[in-house]
């Protein structure tokens, strides 16, 4: 946070300024965020986010659990898209051990990660709508998300915290009925997105509320460490799937949407388009998957007890929110010496004061939901 105290000019008027504490129990604060705002009427002079209300000591826990046992903990970071976290962590450990994951497993990972991305974006867009007073799109989107969860559930038995994959590959193949489910789901997803667009995108109230709100320049965004949709909304075409490709993403044909202003509207729009692109990716990945032989390996040969050699690696992937990285240092034992998670929204949220300064309280709400700050990965 840019912690410069309230400026001199403001100080003189301090009598008129009101401090409002928003959160942590506030409908728009997703449970655990808290922003202490200093407002002049409804205009925000200063907004200082305070985090840590969901700090569960995940990193410390990672030092006392084995590499394998830490997988379920990663579920609980960004719980909207748990699968991306799992894969990111597994990729880090695999990198540390030098394991090459079989191609088929990578394809399944891609399919699942993209499904998780859609689910995450759906929540984000839906909540953004709710926070701006449009309740209905949220419900349309959440039904489709429910279907996605059904796919997850039939894959390995959990809806949200999937504990997807294992170090070195997967623990299960795609279920047999995946194709059927996906064929059913795809048009519904598109329809729900279309309906959301219909209800929101061209509605002037929505446009007024979102266009130009908490706009951010690309230079600032990079300096603050933005990644993901929020960075792309600023007009920087950066996507780890393309730039530092992993999991065979280089074999898929998809667009990386970019915005212009970096405002709430662009973030919303980028997310909407990304969902569509994700659908495309899943189609392609599933086609490749089908071409693989049925008994193609899904798991690399991994020792029963995972003891990576001494060393440290950083591995990142493009989670729905941006660059999700895991720094893992091993001391040669079966427990990680240090695990550091680089959550994407952590970097984004620290620029919050700059994002909302000068806007109004209602915009603060819009901004916070458009950033898709997930407390689980923010506080860890």
């Amino acid at each position: 946070m840019n912690q410069d105290p309230v400026s001199q000019n403001d100080q003189e008027r301090l009598g008129e300024l009101v401090t409002i504490n928003i959160g942590p129990s506030h409908p728009a604060m997703h449970g655990t965020l808290r922003v202490v705002t200093v407002t002049d009427g409804e205009t925000i002079v200063k907004a200082e986010p305070e985090i840590g209300y969901l700090h569960r000591g995940v990193e410390k826990l990672g030092e006392s659990l084995t590499y394998h046992q830490f997988i379920p903990i990663t579920d609980r970071l960004n719980y909207c898209s748990a699968i991306t976290n799992n894969v990111s962590y597994e990729m880090a450990v695999e990198k540390l051990m030098g394991i090459e994951v079989p191609e088929k497993a990578q394809l399944v990972r891609v399919i699942m990660m993209e499904l998780a991305r859609i689910a995450d974006h759906e929540v984000c867009v839906g909540i953004l709508g709710v926070d701006l007073g449009a309740f209905t799109p949220f419900f349309y989107l959440i039904i489709q998300r429910e279907e996605i969860y059904e796919i997850f559930e039939w894959y390995n038995g959990a809806r949200l915290t999937n504990t997807f994959g294992r170090i070195g590959g997967l623990d299960a193949d795609l279920p047999d009925d995946f194709e059927e489910r996906w064929r059913e789901l795809k048009p519904n997803l598109r329809k729900a997105n279309e309906e959301t667009e219909k209800l929101l995108t061209h509605n002037r109230i929505w446009m007024d509320r979102t266009i130009g709100v908490s706009a951010f320049s690309p230079e600032d965004a990079l300096n603050w460490g933005f990644t993901g949709p929020c960075l792309r909304a600023c007009g920087v075409k950066r996507d780890l799937r393309k730039d530092e490709t992993y999991c065979m993403y280089d074999q898929f044909d998809f667009e990386v949407p970019v915005g212009k202003n970096g405002d709430v509207f662009d973030r919303y729009k980028v997310r909407m388009i990304e969902m569509e692109e994700s659908i495309k990716i899943i189609d392609q990945a599933y086609k490749l998957y089908k071409e693989m032989p049925a008994d193609a390996p899904l798991k690399a040969r991994v020792p029963k007890v995972i003891k990576p050699p001494v060393g440290e690696v950083y591995s990142a992937l493009e989670s729905p929110n941006g660059e999700l990285g895991f720094f893992v240092r091993s001391d040669g034992s079966n427990k990680a010496y240090r695990i550091k998670i680089r959550p994407p929204c952590y970097m984004i949220y620290q620029a919050f004061n700059d994002l909302v300064k000068g806007e109004m309280i209602a915009d603060l709400i819009a901004c916070i939901s458009s950033l898709n700050v997930v407390a689980g990965e923010l506080d860890r």
Binding site: Q69, F70, G98, N203, M207, P297, K304, K357
Partner: protein, 239 residues
């Protein structure tokens, strides 16, 4: 700092509010009519997107859903568990406690192996239903069932002891809700030695080069639970 924004030019339709609002209203109206019609369908699953849960159980729960735990019996009705404690070691939440017991003479019809669990406690409130215990279990004794209605009034009721675990199994068996056996995941074939071993030996530093395969018998298995479909021994020798 918010930067100046290139304001998008609104079209006339967008400018006057009403057009888009009417379009949106038409959309919600379609949903409304559809759902009102649907709500007169025979109970309980009326509106297709809404499961009226306590009555309407038409939503299928995945057969491999990770729900309530159970301790399995084999075909002869003997307890499979050998109290090896692997599940307890693997559990990230440390919610399983197993106590060993030694089978006495004349108890062969009760316990499948020489060792059995004298007590088996699971603290449901700590459990995170990750399924690692069933994956690690060499005998497929502990399994997460399909039961998901777990709410209780008190803490004590959320404590699963051995009797409850066995009862869960019997109940699931009665209802035909047993979990299907896990399918083994195909693993990369071992023979081409250089491929599997190469990155580890060359790049691996002083740390003990991670040995692929050749796991010692009885070692704590954290991985590859898939391989113990029927013959755990076979899978291990195959390694």
């Amino acid at each position: 700092m918010a930067k100046p924004v290139v304001k998008k030019e609104y079209t006339l339709g967008e400018r006057i509010y009403l057009l888009e609002i009417l379009k949106g209203m038409a959309l919600t109206w379609r949903h409304f009519v559809f759902n009102v019609k649907a709500s007169f369908r025979p109970e309980p699953h009326t509106v297709p997107t809404c499961w009226q849960y306590p009555e309407d159980r038409t939503r299928e729960i995945s057969p491999i859903f990770r729900g309530l735990h159970m301790l399995c019996l084999d075909e002869k009705g003997r307890e499979k568990c050998i109290a090896c404690g692997t599940c307890a070691k693997t559990c990230p939440a440390h919610c399983i406690t197993v106590k060993k017991g030694k089978r006495k003479e004349g108890e062969e019809d009760k316990y499948a192996s020489k060792m059995y669990c004298a007590s088996f406690d699971i603290d449901l409130l700590h459990c995170i239903f990750c399924g690692f215990c069933q994956e690690a279990c060499p005998k497929e004794a502990i399994v997460l069932g399909r039961e998901f209605e777990l709410a209780q009034y008190t803490r004590e009721e959320c404590h699963l002891d051995k009797q409850k675990l066995l009862a869960n199994y019997r109940k699931a068996k009665e209802e035909g809700k047993l979990r299907p056996p896990r399918k083994a995941v195909p693993v990369v074939k071992p023979p081409p030695k250089p491929e599997a071993g190469a990155p580890k030996t060359t790049e691996g530093k002083a740390g003990k080069p991670a040995v692929a395969g050749k796991a010692k018998k009885g070692q704590v298995e954290v991985k590859k639970a898939a391989e113990k479909a029927k013959g755990a021994g076979k899978a291990e020798s195959g390694d």
